[in-house]
């Protein structure tokens, strides 16, 4: 549009909107004013036919709005959430992703404490059960019997008495040291319900000591040892699970 046309248009618009314009062509001004007057009169005629007060008009609206409010309030959160299918789909996808990612992140991860609790040394199967217990257990078990009764100060001398009076001859039974672990020797002891022997069998299978490495077998032997009350076997068993070596 040319500048002249632009100016004519702007003057016409201004006149229609009731803004006084200077330097406007008189004919154009007259046309615009006539149009404005006609438009106002037409609007006035129509508005005169519309009642000034219409209570029914607003009453209907209020009732409809009330119904809508009640309907909205009765919808529970779940329904309103799933009304937006895209939003719901997005949240489900994100949720699945988060679960998958966290599983992937934490699978095979073990804490430092669990790593420290993992016992990799074979247990001595030559000692008696009582000796092992004294060695393994702490202050509490040293001074109290398994029923919780106080065993007195003398109980701490038992190992010392043994030490002093009976010479201990180290005889390798092939199921006490990592280097000499033997499957048959350990199996024999394990069949006699020796928890340490069972633990050692588990260790053999876990580390592949003189046998083929088999985590499932290791897990089974740890389980059997733990059933006899071996705490280390239990922690090794948990370690295998957390590492994701057995499922």
């Amino acid at each position: 549009m040319k500048n002249k046309d632009q100016k004519i248009l702007q003057n016409w618009i201004d006149t229609l909107q009731g803004i006084s314009v200077r330097g406007m062509d008189s004919k154009s001004r007259l046309e615009a004013r006539l149009l404005k007057k006609a438009w106002l009169e037409e609007s006035k005629k129509i508005e005169n036919k519309i009642p000034d007060q219409d209570p029914a008009f607003y009453q209907n609206i209020k009732e409809a709005l009330k119904k809508k409010k009640d309907k909205t309030a009765s919808k529970n959160l779940w329904t309103s959430f799933f009304e937006n299918k895209f939003k719901a789909f997005l949240v489900v996808i994100l949720g699945t992703g988060v679960v998958y990612a966290s599983k992937k992140t934490y699978d095979g991860l073990v804490s430092v404490a669990e790593e420290l609790n993992h016992v990799v040394l074979a247990k001595d199967t030559t000692k008696t059960k009582a000796e092992n217990e004294i060695e393994e257990n702490g202050f509490w078990d040293e001074h109290f019997d398994r029923h919780g009764g106080f065993t007195g100060f003398w109980s701490r001398y038992i190992p010392k008495i043994n030490e002093g009076n009976i010479p201990i001859v180290e005889v390798d039974n092939f199921c006490s040291h990592n280097a000499t672990l033997n499957l048959n020797a350990c199996l024999e002891l394990a069949n006699q319900y020796n928890s340490n022997a069972r633990f050692n069998l588990g260790l053999m299978y876990e580390l592949g000591l003189n046998v083929d490495q088999n985590y499932l077998q290791a897990y089974e032997w740890y389980k059997k040892s733990s059933a006899l009350g071996n705490e280390d076997a239990r922690s090794n068993m948990e370690y295998l699970i957390k590492k994701g070596l057995v499922y």
């Binding site: 549009m1 046309d5 632009q6 004519i8 248009l9 016409w12 618009i13 229609l16 909107q17 009731g18 803004i19 004919k27 007259l30 046309e31 006539l34 149009l35 404005k36 007057k37 006609a38 438009w39 106002l40 009169e41 037409e42 609007s43 129509i46 508005e47 036919k49 519309i50 219409d54 008009f57 607003y58 209907n60 609206i61 209020k62 409809a64 709005l65 809508k68």
Partner: protein, 193 residues
């Protein structure tokens, strides 16, 4: 007039904000107080809808659009524009327009301006213009609608948003309104006051 234009725009913003804030009762009071009921009914009636239907349509507009959809207004400063745009679309959607989206060319406008005039001899100039305005509305809804917006004090930006055209195209369209209505006015200018 400029002040009124500003205030009308602000009144629309006030109403929309009340609807957004869940204070629909207060919004309805202001809707009546600021004369929007009459304004919208009038807008519908000039598009060939009878009074009762227009009143129903305005009710529907308040319930379905102002109450339910006012949150969707991106630019609150154009609340009035949004209201007119939505209401205009409602009229179109209802299929109640007697003459839909018709336009006449400038040449047609010259011919048609005389066709349907009543030809009353004692007609005043004002009556003549009103009659020609009515004929123009029937012949060319789109341009008549834009003329309505101009009369209501819409600026070019508001008209642009309402009709969904570019700024330049809107100015062009507004210019066409003037040119197309001119032949309709010519006859009335011959009548002496």
């Amino acid at each position: 007039m400029r002040k009124e234009k500003q205030s009308k725009r602000h009144q629309a913003i006030e109403i929309i904000q009340l609807f957004r804030g869940g204070r629909s009762d207060e919004a309805l009071v202001l809707f009546e107080k600021y004369g929007f009921r009459k304004e919208f009914i009038c807008f519908a009636v000039t598009r060939g809808i009878d009074y009762e239907d227009a009143s129903d349509l305005v009710q529907k507009f308040i319930i379905d659009k102002l109450y339910m959809k006012s949150d969707s207004i991106e630019h609150i400063e154009y609340a009035r524009t949004w209201m007119y745009m939505v209401f205009r679309n409602m009229i179109n959607d209802q299929g109640r327009l007697l003459i839909k989206n018709r336009e006449v060319s400038l040449d047609e406008a010259k011919d048609q301006s005389y066709e349907e005039a009543s030809g009353e001899k004692n007609q005043t100039r004002s009556d003549c213009v009103q009659e020609q305005l009515k004929i123009f509305r029937d012949k060319d809804q789109k341009h008549a609608e834009v003329m309505d917006y101009i009369m209501k004090g819409f600026d070019v930006e508001e008209v642009r948003l309402t009709i969904g055209r570019s700024y330049g195209a809107t100015r062009q369209f507004m210019s066409q309104c003037r040119k197309k209505f001119k032949p309709f006015l010519e006859r009335c200018l011959e009548i002496d006051e």
